[in-house]
């Protein structure tokens, strides 16, 4: 009996040892130990002024003025690029939403996107799609949880996501009356854009690295002197006029810059 008990204890000990060994091995290799966090901080501006929803009006082209209520855009397939050109995907999709930026304090803080488990290393650029990639644009909010970036901004009649939304009001005569309503909802696979933001970047394990961007809404609306979205002619577009939709998406690429 004693012998059997001794064998049993010995076996239990071995099993315990194996279990412990396995656990230690797993712990050492879980994402997190050799990864860090990347925070992308987007500060909105309109020219030099901080971008705020509701709380500010901005002088615009041809004697008009503008107020914002909503501005958002999607980023897809975000990759960090190593110096040797190798890309590492860090995020499928994120939405940069300025809806709650309604004060100077909030504008200074900007919109922050936190990406965890980014492999530690030295990188030379962040490459991202602007809009929703065609792969993800095949999906719909029913594929996601309520907190997922793609749980919203879906246009079911068009069976696709709205890549960028800008809503607000314009004062066409500069008389203080912002009664012209503005709605621009742009999105279609052909309007998907990409951009590489060149920036030396080091991600250290278990540390947070911040990358700052400036998003100038004026650049979304004004491509060059005299070439702007004229609210006297157009105050609404649901990607029905492809000329306007392309104008906005092309401008959006230029409106986002890394600091």
């Amino acid at each position: 009996m004693k012998k059997k008990l001794t064998i049993l204890f010995a076996l239990s000990g071995l099993v315990f040892l194996f279990a412990t060994c396995n656990r230690t091995e797993t712990d050492c290799c879980t994402p997190g130990d050799d990864t860090g966090t990347l925070e992308l901080r987007f500060k909105g501006v309109f020219d030099d002024a901080p971008l705020m929803m509701y709380a500010a009006s901005y002088p615009y082209e041809a004697g008009m003025s503008l107020r914002l209520q909503l501005f958002l855009f999607y980023l897809s397939d975000m990759n960090l690029v190593e110096k040797n050109g190798k890309s590492i995907k860090i995020k499928d999709i994120e939405v940069v939403n300025f809806a709650n930026i309604q004060s100077e304090v909030a504008a200074n803080e900007g919109v922050t996107i936190r990406i965890n488990n980014v492999p530690a290393g030295k990188y030379s650029a962040l490459k991202t799609g602007i809009g929703v990639s065609s792969e993800l644009n095949k999906t719909n909010p029913g594929n996601y949880s309520a907190k997922h970036p793609l749980s919203d901004n879906y246009w079911s009649a068009a069976m696709g996501y709205i890549f960028t939304k800008m809503e607000g009001n314009a004062d066409l005569d500069n008389n203080g009356s912002f009664e012209t309503k503005l709605t621009f909802h742009i999105g279609a696979n052909s309007l998907y854009r990409s951009k590489s933001f060149d920036k030396e970047l080091v991600i250290n394990a278990k540390e947070t690295t911040q990358l700052d961007f400036v998003v100038d809404l004026r650049k979304l609306l004004v491509a060059s002197e005299g070439n702007f979205l004229d609210f006297r002619k157009t105050s609404i577009d649901h990607t029905t006029n492809m000329e306007i939709a392309s104008f906005i998406m092309n401008n959006l690429v230029n409106a986002i810059e890394v600091k």
Binding site: M1, M53, Y54, A55, R67, Q69, Q102, N140, P141, G142, Y144, S145, A146, K147, H148, S151, D152, Y154, W155, S156, A157, E167, G168, N169, F178, E179, K181, L182, T183, H185, I236, H238, T240
Partner: protein, 362 residues
């Protein structure tokens, strides 16, 4: 060795039974089996997954208990008012009144909201979004002096002393004793029942599934509603009343009240809850599912009919700094209006309105 082991086991069982005997008061429920039947939350194509709290999974027993509580006036001070008074199934869980009536005929300040697909509402409940979950929401009406006016402590005592409820709570939540019935469990049960109130079988849904076809008027109304045709006027409805829920769950000022500045709203809505000046006069976008059954309309029930609602939106609404830019003047013919209303009638879900699982069990 075996004798020693047996002795240890016997001693343990004996001690355990003594402890249990001393712990179990007269309301002990441990003789009733606790075998909850877990139920998967419903899914609607195109809608993000239902957010069910991990500490309140749906069970057949919890849903059944929640249904009983929903229709039982035991949760009101004078045992006359129950949830189903203001949330009537035949009216898509509204009450047909501009302002709801509660305890002792007292009038509320807002209209009862529909509960259709309420389990998917993840951006706040009530017109001002003040409750983040169905569990948190259910706390309010019971203790609200205008609604059911019952102190929660008293509500708990009533349920603890009830001849039937303790066993139901045992089956739903595994409580050991009737004294374990708390507000916490009551709201959990109510939330479970409400998460089953799914509306996804209207003619609109059948058309989307290829099981039915719109009439010409309905199809025209659909195109106007969702701005899908360059030949027809756009209504901009779909921005806020996005399918399949027919609400984005957001908060907007839809221009129903004339104000000089945003502090002048008689009911500040969302802003009254969160203190954000720019949210004054904003209210939660209600679902349009079963809209033909949920008159009168708006948070204060000011519009009695759907044509009145359309006339408001056609006017472009009263301007304010936070008026939704998607509420804009429309040019509709009489036919456009009729067709839009024909489409809205396709959102009536008679299966939902008559589902016996949602009906008063008493």
């Amino acid at each position: 060795m075996i004798r020693v082991l047996l002795a240890i086991v016997c001693w343990f069982l004996f001690t355990w039974s003594i402890i249990q005997c001393h712990r179990a008061p007269s309301g002990s429920l441990s003789h009733i089996a606790y075998k909850p039947t877990f139920v998967a939350p419903a899914h609607i194509n195109g809608v993000p997954h239902m957010d069910v709290p991990s500490d309140n999974p749906l069970t057949a027993e919890g849903i059944a208990l929640g249904r009983m509580l929903f229709y039982d006036p035991i949760l009101s001070a004078d045992s006359t008012v129950f949830c189903g008074n203001c949330h009537q199934q035949q009216r898509a869980f509204t009450d047909g009144k501009a302002l709801s009536t509660g305890f002792a005929g007292r009038k509320g300040v807002r209209s009862a909201m529909s509960l259709a697909n309420i389990g998917f509402h993840h951006q706040g409940l009530f017109w001002d979004g003040r409750s983040p979950t169905l569990e948190a929401q259910a706390v309010h009406p019971v203790q609200d002096s205008v609604e059911m006016n019952l102190n929660w402590q008293l509500a708990e005592q009533r349920l603890q002393r009830h001849p039937v409820y303790p066993a139901w709570f045992r089956r739903a939540f595994g409580i050991q004793d009737s004294k374990d019935i708390t507000q916490h469990l009551v709201v959990k049960a109510l939330a479970q029942f409400q998460r089953t109130l799914i509306s996804r079988d209207a003619k609109y849904d059948q058309v989307r599934r290829g099981e039915a076809q719109f009439t010409e008027a309905e199809a025209r109304g659909y195109a106007i509603f969702f701005d899908t045709s360059s030949e027809l006027p756009h209504s901009e409805c779909g921005h806020c009343h996005l399918d399949p829920l027919f609400t984005t769950l957001e908060y907007h000022n839809n221009g129903i009240q004339q104000v000089n500045n945003l502090n002048d709203f008689s009911d500040k809505g969302r802003g009254g809850f969160n203190g954000n000046y720019y949210d004054n006069g904003k209210f939660k976008v209600p679902t349009l599912r079963n809209i033909a059954r949920t008159a009168p309309y708006m948070h204060d029930g000011r519009f009695k009919t759907l044509p009145e609602v359309l006339d408001h939106y056609i006017s472009g609404g009263h301007f304010a700094d936070n008026l939704s830019p998607n509420v804009r003047q429309l040019r509709f013919s009489e036919r456009d209006k009729q067709d839009l209303i024909a489409f809205l009638h396709t959102l009536t879900d008679s299966i939902f309105l008559n589902n016996p699982a949602f009906a008063n069990p008493f």
